[in-house]
C-alpha cells in the first residue's frame, strides 16, 4: 500500500469502522514504515477521539424547560384560535347571504361616494335649486317606472372621473313612488353608472337600495349643488347586482 491509498482510508481507519481486513492490515503496516502516514493516522485518531468525546459530553445538553413551556403555550394559543368555523347550509341560506352582501356593498359604496365627495372641493356651480331630473334605470333593475316627461331640457352636466350620467334630462313631473305618502312627490335623477358601461349592460337583475349621502356627493357626478347646503343629507338609490357590487346610483329628492 502506498501513501495515497493509505490516506484514502485514513478516516475509516481512525474511526475503527468496518472495512476489509486485508486493507486494514496493509494500511497499518504502511504506517509503521512511513513516518508521514503514521503521523497522519495519529492525528486522525486524536481528532476522532476528541470528536467522539465532545459528542458524548454534549449528548446531555437539552434546551431549558422554559422553552418547552413557551412552545406549549404557543401551541395552545394557536389551536384555540383555530376552532372549527360553523358551516353555513348552502342552498337556502345562500340567497340571504347574497342579499346581505349586496346591502353591505351598497353601504360601502355610499361611504366611498361620500368620501370622494367631501374631498372634492371644486368651484360651486350655481344652478336652479328647483332643478328636477329624471333618468331611466338600467335594464333589468326593478325600479319605479318613470312617467313621460312633458318638458325636457338637457342638463349641462360636468361628469368627473369618467362617470357619465345616462340620458341626462330634466323632468318636471316625476313619478310618485309606491311608498311615498300621498301628496309628497319624489324627484329622482337618472342612474349614474358606478362601473364601466360593459359591466352595466351585463346586469340582468339587481336590487335597489335606498341610502343617504351628503349633498356634496352631487358634485361627484357633475350635478349642481348649493354649497350653503353642503352639510345636508340627500337620499339616493343604489343599484346592487346579484354579485353584491354597486352598479349605478341615482339621487332622490
Amino acid at each position: 500500500m502506498n501513501c495515497s491509498e493509505s490516506q484514502s482510508i485514513l478516516r475509516e481507519l481512525a474511526r475503527d469502522q468496518m472495512m476489509d481486513a486485508r486493507g486494514r492490515q496493509s494500511a497499518l503496516a504502511h504506517a509503521v514504515s512511513c513516518g508521514n502516514c503514521a503521523r497522519a493516522l495519529g492525528d486522525a485518531r486524536a481528532l476522532t477521539g476528541g470528536l467522539r468525546h465532545i459528542a458524548s459530553v454534549d449528548a446531555q445538553e437539552q434546551a431549558p424547560a422554559r422553552v418547552e413551556a413557551s412552545l406549549v403555550a404557543a401551541f395552545r394559543d394557536r389551536h384555540s384560535a383555530s376552532l372549527p368555523v360553523p358551516v353555513i347550509a348552502p342552498a337556502a341560506s345562500r340567497r340571504w347571504l347574497y342579499i346581505a352582501a349586496g346591502v353591505a356593498a351598497a353601504a360601502v359604496a355610499a361611504v366611498l361616494i361620500s368620501l370622494i365627495a367631501t374631498k372634492t372641493r371644486s368651484a360651486e356651480t350655481t344652478a336652479p335649486t328647483e332643478a328636477r331630473t329624471h333618468m331611466e334605470a338600467p335594464a333589468g333593475v326593478q325600479a319605479p317606472k318613470p312617467a313621460p316627461s312633458p318638458e325636457k331640457h338637457v342638463v349641462s352636466a360636468n361628469p368627473k372621473r369618467g362617470v357619465r350620467p345616462i340620458k341626462p334630462v330634466i323632468q318636471s313631473t316625476p313619478p310618485a313612488p309606491k311608498n311615498a305618502p300621498s301628496g309628497e312627490v319624489e324627484i329622482a335623477t337618472d342612474f349614474f353608472p358606478l362601473v364601466n358601461r360593459e359591466s352595466l349592460n351585463q346586469l340582468d337583475s339587481g336590487q335597489l337600495v335606498r341610502v343617504e349621502l351628503p349633498r356634496s356627493a352631487l358634485m361627484s357626478f357633475g350635478l349642481p349643488m348649493n354649497m350653503e347646503r353642503a352639510g345636508e343629507r340627500i337620499k339616493a338609490d343604489v343599484v346592487v347586482g346579484e354579485d353584491g357590487l354597486a352598479r349605478a346610483i341615482r339621487f332622490v329628492r
Partner: protein, 207 residues
C-alpha cells in the same frame, strides 16, 4: 391521546396538526435535544441555541403541513430549519461590531464547556485536546463546520447531512474531508505550541 408504544414522527406530527398537545410535547421532547445541540455546537452560545430551538418548533407549530415526508425525515427537516436560523444569526452578528479589545471579551453567554483553557505549560491532556477540537470546530467556516457537526458529532450519514444542508452527497464528503484536514492542522499547531512554549517569532523580536 391514543398512541402506540413508540409512535413514529409522522404519526405524532399528524396528531399534532389535529391539535393534540400531548403529541406535540412528545415530538418536542424527542427532537429538541438534537436541534439544541446542533445550534449550540454551531454557535458556541447557549442563548443562540435556545433561540434557534424555539424558532424551529414555532415553525413546526405554524407550518407543520408544509413538511413533506417523501423528501426528508422529520429530524432532517428540523435540522434544516435550525441550520437556516443559525446561518441567519451568523449573518446578523456579522453586522454587529463587538465593543472591546477582543470579540471574546465579556461574552457571558458562551457555554463554559466551549471555552478552552490556554495552558501552554500543561501536557496535551485529553481535556485540552477536546477543548482544542471544540474551539477548532467553532473556528471553521460555517459550511465546513456544519458537516463536521452533522456527520461527526450527530452521527448523520452523508445522505442525511446532504438533505439538511441542501447539497449533493459528494459535496458533503469533500467538505468533510477538507474540514477534518483543517481540524488536524489546528490540532498539530496547538500541539506544537504546547511542546515548544518558548518558541518565539523572530520577526517580532526585531520589531
Amino acid at each position: 391521546m391514543t398512541l402506540s408504544k413508540t409512535p413514529s414522527d409522522p404519526e405524532l406530527l399528524r396528531l399534532m396538526i389535529a391539535g393534540d398537545e400531548d403529541a406535540f410535547t412528545a415530538l418536542y421532547r424527542r427532537r429538541q435535544g438534537g436541534v439544541y445541540r446542533f445550534a449550540l455546537q454551531m454557535s458556541g452560545s447557549q442563548t443562540v441555541a435556545e433561540d434557534v430551538t424555539q424558532e424551529v418548533f414555532m415553525v413546526l407549530i405554524r407550518e407543520a403541513e408544509r413538511y413533506d415526508s417523501s423528501r426528508a425525515s422529520l429530524a432532517a427537516y428540523l435540522y434544516g430549519i435550525a441550520r437556516n436560523y443559525v446561518l441567519r444569526r451568523f449573518e446578523q452578528d456579522r453586522l454587529l461590531v463587538p465593543i472591546g479589545d477582543s470579540a471574546d471579551d465579556g461574552d457571558s453567554f458562551t457555554h463554559p464547556a466551549m471555552i478552552a483553557e490556554d495552558d501552554p505549560l500543561g501536557d496535551l491532556t485529553r481535556n485540552e485536546t477536546i477543548d482544542t477540537v471544540r474551539n477548532s470546530i467553532l473556528a471553521l467556516p460555517p459550511h465546513y463546520r456544519e458537516v463536521v457537526v452533522l456527520c461527526d458529532l450527530h452521527e448523520m450519514s452523508y445522505v442525511e447531512a446532504a438533505t439538511v444542508v441542501g447539497c449533493a452527497v459528494g459535496t458533503v464528503r469533500s467538505r468533510l474531508h477538507r474540514a477534518r484536514a483543517l481540524l488536524v492542522e489546528k490540532l498539530r499547531a496547538g500541539r506544537d505550541r504546547n511542546q515548544n512554549p518558548e518558541q518565539v517569532n523572530p520577526a517580532r523580536c526585531f520589531a
